[in-house]
C-alpha cells in the first residue's frame, strides 16, 4: 500500500457499545483508507492531550439511537472550546460540538433517507441532497455557529470563526465526498 499523504486525522469513537465501532467508526476509517489518508482512532474516554497535538484534524463519529452516554460525559469534550484545528462532528459528534458551544439539546427522531436543502455551500454541497438520518436529538446551536441548511432542525452548522463543522446526518452513508472535502481543508 502507498504511504499516506498529507494531514493526520484523529477519529474519535464515542460509542458506549464495543460492537457499534463497526457501524459508526469503521465506515469513516474505510473512507479515509480508500483515499490513502493517514488517521488514528481513539475512544473519547481514552483521549490524551498528546493525541490532540498529534492530530491535524479531528472527526468525531456518531453512535446508536439509544446511546446518549456521551451527553452525560460532555465535560470530557471541554477541550473543543480551545481547539483551533479543523474538526468535524457527525451526528453525536455534532451534538457534542453544539453542546460544548453553548447550544441546547432538543428531541427530534429521524431515521432513513431524507432530502436536505443547503442554503450556502457546506463541505462541497450547496443544493438539495439525499442524506441518511439516524438520530433522536439535535442541537439548537448558539450564535457562535452559522446554520447552513433550510428547515427547523439544524442539519449542518459551522463555527463562525473556526473550522469546526457539524452534520446531523451520516455522510459516510450517502455523502462520502463531504468527509473528503473536510479532509482537504
Amino acid at each position: 500500500m502507498e504511504e499516506g499523504v498529507g494531514d493526520m486525522i484523529l477519529i474519535i469513537n464515542v460509542c458506549k457499545e464495543k460492537l457499534h465501532y463497526f457501524e459508526f467508526v469503521k465506515p469513516i476509517e474505510d473512507i479515509l483508507k480508500k483515499e490513502n489518508v493517514d488517521f488514528f482512532t481513539k475512544h473519547y474516554l481514552e483521549l490524551t492531550k498528546k493525541d490532540l497535538i498529534k492530530a491535524d484534524k479531528v472527526i468525531i463519529c456518531g453512535t446508536s439511537l439509544k446511546d446518549n452516554v456521551f451527553v452525560d460525559n460532555i465535560e470530557k469534550f471541554e477541550w473543543i472550546r480551545d481547539f483551533e484545528k479543523p474538526l468535524l462532528g457527525i451526528c453525536a459528534g455534532m451534538q457534542i460540538v453544539g453542546l460544548v458551544g453553548g447550544g441546547k439539546l432538543k428531541m427530534h427522531l429521524e431515521i432513513g433517507y431524507f432530502y436536505e436543502d443547503f442554503r450556502k455551500k457546506f463541505l462541497g454541497v450547496n443544493e438539495e441532497v439525499e442524506v441518511y438520518h439516524l438520530h433522536n436529538n439535535y442541537v439548537d446551536f448558539s450564535d457562535e455557529f452559522e446554520i447552513f441548511n433550510k428547515g427547523e432542525v439544524v442539519q449542518a452548522a459551522k463555527h463562525k470563526l473556526k473550522d469546526i463543522y457539524g452534520v446531523l446526518f451520516h455522510p459516510e452513508v450517502r455523502n462520502k465526498k463531504m468527509i473528503l472535502e473536510f479532509v482537504k481543508i
Binding site: 457499534h20 446508536s64 432513513g112 452513508v173
Partner: protein
C-alpha cells in the same frame, strides 16, 4: 448484553452474529421471519426452513415467525417476533446483517427504537469484497442457494464461497456491476459451517427451482 440475531441463515446474518459473539455479546436467540412471498422486500427466503438445523448446531433458541410477506405488513410480523424475543429471552438488543440496504436497516432501526432495544449492524457500509474475504479468513463454509441477476445462472447454485469464487465475482462486479456480496439481491447464500457451529452441516439433497437468471435451491440438511 443479551442479543437476538435477525437470522436468515445466509452469510451476512451469520457473520454479524459471529462478530457480536467475538466481541463479548451473548446470543440469546435467533429470530427468523419466514416469508410466504418469495419476492419479500425484507427477508431472505431461499432455504429458510433450514435455519432450524443451523440454530440446533449453534445451540441457540430459535423464534420462527411466519409472514405473508406483504410489503410493510411484514414489518408488523418482525416487530411481534422481536417483542416475543424481548419477553421470553430478555434481549436488550438486536444484531442484523444489513450492509447497504437503507430500506431494511431503517425499518429495523425504527422497530428497535419502538421496542427500546439497541440495534447493531456490524457489517454496515462494509466493503463487499472485505465481507467475502472475512468469510474465508474466519473459516466459514458458505454456499450459494439463490441467484437473481444476469449473468448469474443455475451453475452458481451450490458453489462454495472460496478464493476462486471471490476472484470470479470480482470480475463480474467490474464487467456487469454485480454486487460481489450479493446484498443487492443478486444472490443468496447459506452457511454450512462457521465458528459458531458445533458441527458442520451436510447437504443431504436439494431441489432447484427457476429459469434463466433467477434460480433458488431448496436444501435438505
Amino acid at each position: 448484553m443479551k442479543l437476538a440475531v435477525l437470522f436468515s441463515g445466509g452469510k451476512d446474518s451469520v457473520l454479524s452474529a459471529w462478530l457480536a459473539k467475538k466481541n463479548g455479546y451473548e446470543l440469546s436467540c435467533l429470530v427468523s421471519v419466514v416469508s410466504k412471498n418469495k419476492e419479500s422486500f425484507m427477508f431472505h427466503t431461499p432455504s429458510i426452513s433450514m435455519v432450524k438445523v443451523q440454530a440446533k448446531v449453534m445451540d441457540v433458541p430459535l423464534i420462527l415467525h411466519e409472514t405473508e410477506g406483504v410489503k410493510e405488513k411484514e414489518l408488523i410480523d418482525l416487530e411481534n417476533a422481536l417483542l416475543k424475543a424481548k419477553n421470553e429471552f430478555g434481549i436488550e438488543g438486536v444484531v442484523s446483517g444489513a450492509v447497504e440496504s437503507v430500506y431494511q436497516s431503517s425499518r429495523v432501526q425504527k422497530i428497535c427504537n419502538r421496542l427500546g432495544l439497541e440495534c447493531f449492524n456490524p457489517l454496515w457500509q462494509k466493503n463487499q469484497m472485505e465481507i467475502l474475504d472475512d468469510l474465508i479468513k474466519e473459516n466459514f463454509n458458505v454456499i450459494i442457494v439463490g441467484v437473481f441477476a444476469y449473468p448469474l445462472d443455475k451453475s452458481f447454485l451450490g458453489r462454495k464461497i472460496d478464493k476462486k469464487f471471490v476472484i470470479e465475482v470480482e470480475k463480474l462486479l467490474n464487467k456487469f456491476k454485480i454486487n460481489p456480496a450479493g446484498e443487492g439481491g443478486e444472490f443468496e447464500s447459506f452457511v454450512l459451517d462457521c465458528p459458531l457451529f458445533k458441527s458442520e452441516l451436510k447437504v443431504k439433497s436439494f431441489e432447484d427451482f427457476g429459469e434463466e437468471n433467477s434460480w433458488r435451491r431448496e436444501l435438505e440438511i
